[in-house]
């Protein structure tokens, strides 16, 4: 029977009423929106090609989040936990997932491209592919199967779509451009068969995991400053008439990059030129 494996992780609520640093101290768990899409993608393939969807989580996950993922439509769930191990590095997570995959032998492993509401540097899908020596298809919006190969579509820059293919089995990382239409149903969650396992069940030891190299060490965390929006700065190549118009509007007269410099008031033709030049400068319109 075909197995569609989905790796699910947990993020935290960061846009609630609490300042983010307080939210980190008493975290409210929530699903990773990209993992939700990964479950949806697997469920869609199961509906088309049969088989079962198996969710796998590594490390502690709250019951609510786990049930939420199951309720999106999985037949089985595997939780891998290890008492005393709370912070897992990307190689540790990927090593465990690779061991589970060797037993489950899925056609495809789906993961969210990154944990958008966690640390989320996006390393796991690539490490997983490397450990298994399977192809990795990143940032996927849509999938379909053709015999022993998978075809995926991704949204890339400037309104283009890229279609990639790879032999099965493979790792697919799912982007935010993938659809999410299903609701989580508690009844479905309760029908799923769930296994709670430890490292030993997958032939792994804590020592082996701890010895995996990962040089990145976190020193501190602070609240991020809001990122200033990119502002239009009239280019030096602007025609004299356009410069004059911008100047009259307080445009080029303002200091570069200040809030005022973004305002433009001139004739419609001048405004059109300024817009098109800006679109070109940003590579949005060729």
């Amino acid at each position: 029977m075909a197995v569609w494996m989905v790796c699910v992780s947990e993020g935290i609520v960061t846009n609630g009423p609490l300042p983010v640093m307080n939210a980190l101290k008493s975290p409210l768990p929530m699903p990773n929106p990209l993992d939700e899409r990964a479950v949806e993608m697997a469920t869609t393939l199961r509906e088309q090609y049969g088989g079962k969807v198996v969710l796998v989580s590594v490390g502690n996950m709250s019951e609510e989040v786990w049930e939420y993922y199951l309720g999106l439509g999985a037949e089985e769930g595997i939780r891998v936990e290890e008492a005393g191990l709370s912070e897992w590095t990307p190689p540790q997570v990927a090593r465990v997932l690779a061991s589970v995959a060797r037993t489950l032998r899925p056609q495809v492993i789906f993961c969210g491209e990154r944990c958008v509401n966690g640390i989320g540097t996006g390393w796991v899908p690539f490490l997983l592919g490397t450990y298994l020596a399977w192809p990795v298809l990143p940032g996927v919006a849509q999938t379909s199967l053709r015999e022993e190969t998978i075809q995926v579509e991704r949204v890339v820059e400037r309104g283009y779509r890229e279609v990639l293919a790879a032999p099965l089995p493979c790792v697919v990382s799912v982007a935010e451009t993938a659809p999410l239409t299903r609701y989580s149903a508690i009844g479905r969650a309760h029908q799923a068969r769930v296994r709670r396992t430890t490292l030993g069940d997958w032939g792994l030891s804590r020592e082996a995991l701890l010895s995996l190299p990962w040089t990145v060490r976190e020193l501190s965390r602070v609240q991020a400053r809001p990122r200033p929006r990119k502002l239009y700065v009239p280019p030096s190549t602007m025609s004299a008439a356009d410069r004059l118009a911008a100047l009259l509007a307080g445009g080029t007269g303002a200091s570069r990059g200040s809030q005022d410099s973004k305002f433009f008031e001139g004739t419609p033709q001048q405004a059109a030129r300024v817009i098109l030049d800006f679109l070109k400068q940003e590579g949005i319109f060729p």
Partner: protein
Amino acid sequence: MAQNALSAVWVWVAHEKGRILEASREALIVARRVADEAGGAVVMAVIFGQEDEQVLAELATYGADLVYVAPEPGGYAPLSISRRLAWAWDHVVPPPGVLFCPGTRMGREIGLRVGAFRGVGGVSDVVRVRWDDNGIVCDHLAFGGKVQCTVQGVEVVILRPDTYRVRPAPRPLRVSSLPEGEIPAPDVFLVEVRKADPRTVPLEQAEFIVAGGNGVRDFRLIWEFADLVGAAVGGSRVVCDDGRLERSRQIGESGTIVSPRCYIAVGISGAIQHVRGMQNSEIVITINTDRHAPIHDLASLAIIGDAHAVLQALIDEVRKERVAAVPPVGTP
């Protein structure tokens, strides 16, 4: 590993039509600064594709000491480039201590693939890099961009785009060929690249949106301009309520939440319910008769003017450019 003997840093540089992409210029400038802070490490750029004089000149301008040129990558470029980089990492002298990648889609993928192939640690969304006695220290964004984490021991740095100020830091540039070795056969294949039809693309996937609001009486102008520039069309609730635009194109908290690279808001006031649906757009251009409309708070460029006149001028300008770009009949 103590990195306090950093002798070289790598930068994968993306270029197109003889120009280095802005995100790669940022990566070069960051690499130059870290190399200087580390006491004069060598900045080694790597480019794939033809050796282009203009690209080499720009590399020198933005602080590269040495450039490795490699032939156009065959097949699926991010995979073949990262396999070559991962192999060459151990074969260039002096050995680089860190790889910098621009924060573009491809730069990110290359950084992650190289990191995984080599089994080294890295971070993405990096907003600041510096050198101290223990090696490279990076600040990167996490938790949806709300938290800044400071980390050490990073060997692959994927930068956040549009973050660093690019200033020339000219150096004499040496040119060399990237060492080539046996690399595994590809397992991912590029089948096709095609333009999505902006008229049918789901708004949440659109890269470029032209949205009209109550200030636009004639939506034909919105459609005509959007078609000319390849943008998708959206609108505020008011215009969907009265049928100027179909309901499926409503943007906002009770419509679709979008995150395009560019959002042009024409005749839209910027009510909070609308803003919640488009505030993640990277670049916002506003066209509005009212200088005090709240939508301008989000703008990178704010045009004070009449929607219809500016849209008509935009349509005329784009048409004029198109005509000028067509070679006259009879030219070879």
